[in-house]
Symmetry: D2
Subunit: 269 residues, 4 copies
């Protein structure tokens, strides 16, 4: 049977990324506490295709995924990128998986335990010029309470759920939970699955005592990341689903500690 994909291509155009997108697969992730967590990820897997080949071999990406039934760690995920490059005869590769991740949290007063879900993405990238790099992204839901509303009102203050997205590149190992902690500590208040009445009193008053603009949230997280030697570059975004509007307030800070000059700054599009 003829292999159309392998035939010679005369257009002389390299393809930056080609592969499979939005394919679901069950995974296991090691938690900071040592246990393994079962969850379900959505994968995007791409390689660079040199100009002389008509097509890549799509089925090999999916075969690779189906051979990985074991626990996926930061390390094994990075190996998957290398394996992908090898199997597809490529020089560059990009693999990304996004999954819900659960953390057990005790309520602040009653200490009743419940799960909270976060959206996590691992990205592993290899290209000819730099070695394998790995990004971790966490999306953390928090409470934000508006400092202006508190200041100008005789009582009360509008507050809302915010979604903080933190993406980091690190030079040493970081747990997902480490990144979640950094975000939650800088919000007006963190959120929980179960809150009994004494807990609800606590989170209400804590948010009121701790008002933050969307600008404050990203700046306070940036301050922590600037001091964290393990983190070499980061993007932190907050989207506040305003309780008084039908749109969001948004802020973003991006920093690459290794290349501080403006010209190297990653373009935000």
């Amino acid at each position: 049977m003829i292999d159309v994909q392998k035939s010679f291509d005369t257009r002389n155009i390299n393809i930056d990324q080609v592969g499979v997108k939005n394919i679901k697969h069950p995974i296991q992730i090691r938690e900071r506490c040592g246990k393994q967590q079962h969850t379900v990820a959505s994968f995007n897997m791409y390689v660079g295709l040199p100009h002389q080949f008509k097509g890549t071999h799509m089925s090999r990406f999916v075969e690779m995924l189906n051979e990985h039934e074991d626990e996926i760690t930061v390390q094994s995920f990075m190996q998957m990128a290398e394996e992908m490059i090898g199997r597809l005869d490529a020089e560059s590769g990009y693999i990304e998986m996004t999954f819900p991740y659960f953390v057990i949290k005790p309520a602040p007063v009653s200490e009743i335990k419940s799960l909270l879900d976060y959206q996590v993405t691992f990205i592993s990238r290899i290209d000819g010029q730099e070695k394998n790099t790995m990004l971790i992204k966490v999306v953390v839901p928090v409470t934000s309470l508006c400092p202006c509303s508190k200041e100008i009102s005789d009582y009360g203050a509008h507050n809302q759920r915010s979604s903080v997205t933190l993406t980091v590149q690190a030079n040493r190992f970081l747990w997902i939970e480490d990144l979640i902690d950094i975000v939650e500590k800088q919000a007006s208040c963190e959120i929980y699955g179960v809150l009994k009445r004494p807990d609800e009193k606590y989170v209400t008053e804590k948010a009121y005592d701790n008002p933050k603009f969307v600008e404050d949230i990203v700046r306070d997280i940036a301050l922590v990341l600037n001091d964290c030697d393990k983190v070499t570059s980061y993007t932190v975004e907050s989207e506040n689903f305003e309780s008084i509007h039908n749109h969001s307030a948004f802020a973003l800070i991006q920093r690459n500690k290794q290349h501080e000059d403006k010209s190297d700054k990653k373009r935000i599009v």
Copy 2:
């Protein structure tokens, strides 16, 4: 060219709904203030197919849509359902269009005007047993402030954006704006596009003065609808995007004033 759809079908199974789904088309809607509003709708258009026909004629639905460039009112939308039945040789039909709808609102203190967007759906339904019926659905974003949080806390109260969905069947004409008004008046506070500082003080204090559970919002709207003679049946739902959790609080009340006995109640699935 053979008409496969028209051929005789021997399986002896009627199809309840067949047609086109999720097709976008620009529309014009008459506003309560008399102006016409341009917006974009997503349509679902179905007919019942008697058992003897192999298929319906999908292109006729889309042709019909492309012949309607004029203003769509509640009346002309109901005529579209009848026209669809006629063109497709069907005895029952269902047509639904969902669109963003904009209302100019002055801010509560500064009176600066801005648009707020609502999601609106018109549904028109004809079947052999009953005459053409029409449903209007509005999705209205509002502020809700938790009575429990206010009661038990020394200061502050958690609040959030809520999405209230009201679906009504009426025996007389109702404007979209009439339904929006009913919902907004029963929230802890209504929301706005633009709020200057004096407005923000107003909405913060108003919500704090007016705490409502998700249960209160749907009950207070139900009270108004029970007293409104034009409305013959309704469903009212509220989803509160809790600022202290990563899930929503939800409540729903459904009532058909014409057939109050339990057995006729529409099944909620």
Copy 3:
């Protein structure tokens, strides 16, 4: 601390459904082959609230979820509905969980195994008049190939991915896999995670040999369900993401074998 929710409500309006919506939780499902599958579900949990109570106790729903870490089967899921009714002092209840579910499928020729993901929903419902009822819904991706396009064209035929949604109420036990099988056998061709070239030839030719309109898919599935004694009522829908249009073709058949008279038919809205 005062329990605001428990206070007496004078509005005299029952609430049909009140509870928590869109809360994620890890679950385990027993597969037909005997193994347990780990996956992640999104839950909606509601009870009916009698008119005399101001509010329900939202935290109890989430507490209940956090106490269930074990395998969830059809049986244990139905027990959760009863437990919910008990804990919330309610007479009616509704619990729904939606999750990705994976099945290992061998490719049709090469027999290479890969996972395919389906979206599954369990719904359990208790009300005062009828005993606990259970619905299972599966969303099955398949290939559909247009009979008209094949008939009128000299070569080729447009085909596309379709999404078939089957919801059944049964009087005896049914596996998720049983429902998936019913759907996949009636499509132009079933789909797979991994297909090597001989497999791709097989599925291409099988779909071409087996053209089906969206009407044919739902009718052929209805024929099977009509003959299946275990199934007492069903809804089958197919949405074909047409490769020649930017909209979908859609068809739906709904049947309750126990109450065949038209007046009892569930309203489709």
Copy 4:
């Protein structure tokens, strides 16, 4: 009333982007044929915030939007970015609007006219170092037919809807319709709102005569863009919603004609 946002910030951290996200507003776009089209856009509007300011003034973004009721062209959209910078006392700004855009297309044989909808995004960006730049993005639905499936099968070939996303930066004026044309001409076949039977025969046979991998689609579009002097940089992506899988095939090519050296290449994340 105190202006909290204006107060001095001691954290010494600039914010790259701060503003409003996901705000809907009606717009008018000039069509290539000279007419004006009414549609609805979703806006994101951000400015850079210097380190010394605690916050930006969110209401000004929304006020600006509400003052623009007139037709929006590429030119007036670029002026909005400059106006935003001015009003917010900022040195950099980013404004983006995404909207459905309709084009009248005659069917290929019957010539019956119908609308087809495309998703379009305008992005305007100003920063201190470079002058105002403008990007246009179009998402174009097309038919793709698999060359491998055609080659190895005795009859038929799997095909599907694909979504091609083209983003360009240009040095001279380009119509939205110009970009749509470039994409549609390189697909296996373009798609239509209404197709009668002779049209359906035409598109079926045309796609079969014109098989393209996802790689072919992006390469053939890249060839055209490489020859187009008006386009100075581009990204072209295709996502094929495979009819034989539950995942997509994907390919992407990115090129900046002005800075060809690898180090300046925009990082793809």
